[in-house]
Symmetry: C2
Subunit: 372 residues, 2 copies
């Protein structure tokens, strides 16, 4: 069956779309935010809890799982779903982003990337074929092609060469992958902040006919307007009948801006990472729970939230947990932040259904304290 996409509705007031992605482990309503479980666990959470928050798909990480515990072990365990006790859809990234982030520890060649482990310095080699081999062993529903995400800023010449190599690597990934019924594979559009390169990349990948397309190399430090501009330009080049995934985006404003430009999927470690540091997102903006002003605040984190943390605990209690380094603090803040973004996407889907997404966006921004 592989990966299929039903486009259910196109928005009247923006390029936003409602859709349904069919995967071997169930359907995903889009637009969707995907929680990240880098090392085969969404940090601090059980899979049942993640599902209970309304998550329909989670991400996991090829680079990290290749190093620990090793993809062969995960395969022996019956695949990633069974290993980590998550029976819904899983998307794995290609490991490209992580090995390129290693800086001095990696060397790029046409064949692939030589790198040293950030854990023990041991030597490894990741190529398009190897990335697919690992992702085949993990058994994710949606695999990503092995790409280079060029840093921002980068010269035109660098981004051009990098994008062209990424295109050749996408072809090698596609050729290497065999069982398309069991696992889908998305191509990743690169090209940095250069529209002509984005166009070349997108068209070449569309030509290869992947079941979905990611837009990589955005939200890497460029101004928000630049990201919006590149999205405005790029999504129309991608086919309407395939899902579009913006990588690494997880703040409410970036999610809104992506969705109204035709993005269907997004992921980010941000909500879980800031949660573990005690920062939560609420309907009235961000809140740093260690702040002394919450010491005797017996209100919930967000009085409009329906999550377990907000229904059962006060800011004062959660602040206490963070002040004495209790694990439950990280759990409650993670629960809240994930629910906050998942609920936001539920609201966004409902607003698209009712053709009032731009109105909902304005209301949300005003309350949250964003300036448009």
């Amino acid at each position: 069956m592989g990966i299929k996409f039903d486009l259910l509705k196109e928005s009247q007031d923006s390029k936003a779309r409602l859709g349904l992605i069919h995967t071997p482990h169930g359907d995903i309503e889009t637009p969707i935010f995907m929680p990240v479980g880098t090392r085969a666990t969404v940090k601090a959470m059980t899979p049942e809890e993640v599902k209970g928050l309304g998550a329909q798909i989670i991400l996991s990480n090829t680079y990290h799982l290749y190093l620990k515990p090793g993809h062969e072990l995960v395969k022996d365990a019956g695949g990633l779903h069974k290993f980590m006790n998550w029976d819904g859809p899983i998307l794995t990234d290609s490991g490209g982003f992580q090995v390129f982030s290693l800086g001095d520890l990696r060397k790029i060649k046409e064949e692939g990337v030589e790198f040293r482990s950030h854990i023990d310095g041991s030597k490894h080699f990741l190529s398009p074929e190897k990335s697919i081999e690992i992702q085949n062993a993990l058994g994710s529903d949606i695999m990503m092609a092995f790409d280079e995400c060029a840093p921002y800023p980068s010269s035109y010449e660098y981004v051009k060469q990098s994008m062209e190599r990424t295109t050749r690597w996408a072809k090698r990934c596609k050729d290497y992958h065999k069982d398309w019924d069991r696992q889908g594979l998305f191509g990743i559009v690169q090209g940095g902040m250069y529209k002509d390169l984005r166009e070349i990349s997108a068209k070449a990948l569309v030509e290869m006919d992947f079941p979905g397309y990611a837009i990589g190399g955005l939200s890497v430090g460029e101004p928000k307007e630049m990201m919006c501009d590149i999205l405005d330009f790029t999504t129309p080049i991608l086919p309407k009948n395939k899902p579009r995934y913006l990588m690494g985006v997880g703040t409410p404003d970036y999610l809104f801006e992506a969705v109204i430009r035709g993005i269907d999927m997004a992921d980010c470690v941000l909500p879980t990472r800031i949660a573990r540091n005690g920062t939560v997102m609420t309907s009235k903006g961000k809140l740093v729970i260690r702040n002394g002003k919450y010491a005797k605040d017996f209100n919930p984190l967000d009085d409009e939230c329906d999550c377990y943390a907000c229904k059962n605990y006060s800011r004062a209690y959660i602040r206490h947990l963070f002040n004495v380094d209790e694990i439950l603090g990280a759990r409650l803040a993670t629960t809240h932040n994930l629910r906050f973004l998942i609920k936001l996407m539920e609201n966004i889907r409902q607003a698209i259904k009712e053709d009032r997404l731009m109105e909902y966006r304005s209301e949300f921004y005003e309350k949250f304290g964003y300036t448009e």
Copy 2:
């Protein structure tokens, strides 16, 4: 209503008893193991999870809550039950054990103990009256009298003076406490390893007529036989119609040895502490999950256990979580260790009911690898 105890059955083959403690927040079946939530949270767990494991009462800590977040704050939150979202019985210790453990940071006087906070060095004073005032503010169902737990080994003269002061302090605690319907108060028998001092302590406290009695100053480094000997001697001095609580005991063998000597309640941080380091108790003995031999072991931690961790995850997965420092590892190991001890106590109660506790103890010891 306060604290009442029904003695339901006395064992045929040992001094073990079955009982029921009535508290303002519900009944407790004895013998019972009580999980510890030092800082108003059982580490890594939600209250619902702790209850789901079969826990009927939890402990919390006067010293720690006095320092952070402060007992007045907990009182303003509506008491400890509401603050931490646990609606079952709570027992609080007196803070005595913690301030005496501060060593050079504390000075003992007849009036009470002057000490410096282990967190910021600030000066504080804890006395019998202050301890009860704090525990009144916390609102626990069972409070403990402010005592000194003499270290092992200590001279006869030291233990004698310390025990006599503890007796005077118990009286002051009892006199200071007012609302016996809302909160009970247990006296703590001291006297170190000296039987005549244990007898004097126990008799003086029984004279004061507390609704329950703890035996303190055991499991503090003395040989197990010595603890058993003191228990053998002490429990018969305590009234049959009051619950008996052995403080700081949480390994299966110590629990068995305590129960067969007439102990009804026990607590210890051990099962949760070793869990966070990756050590779990199983029906076949202890298991250190980081050990390389579990790398490809797809069996549960304990194939006889009914806990969430054992029903859903392999040793290989849990080992992976510990190897990459994931919070879920601590959660799963804690879940298992608590369930292991709670289930053990369920089995012990059933064995008492069926008059085959000594038989069950032998079976358990053989399988676990203890020598009697």
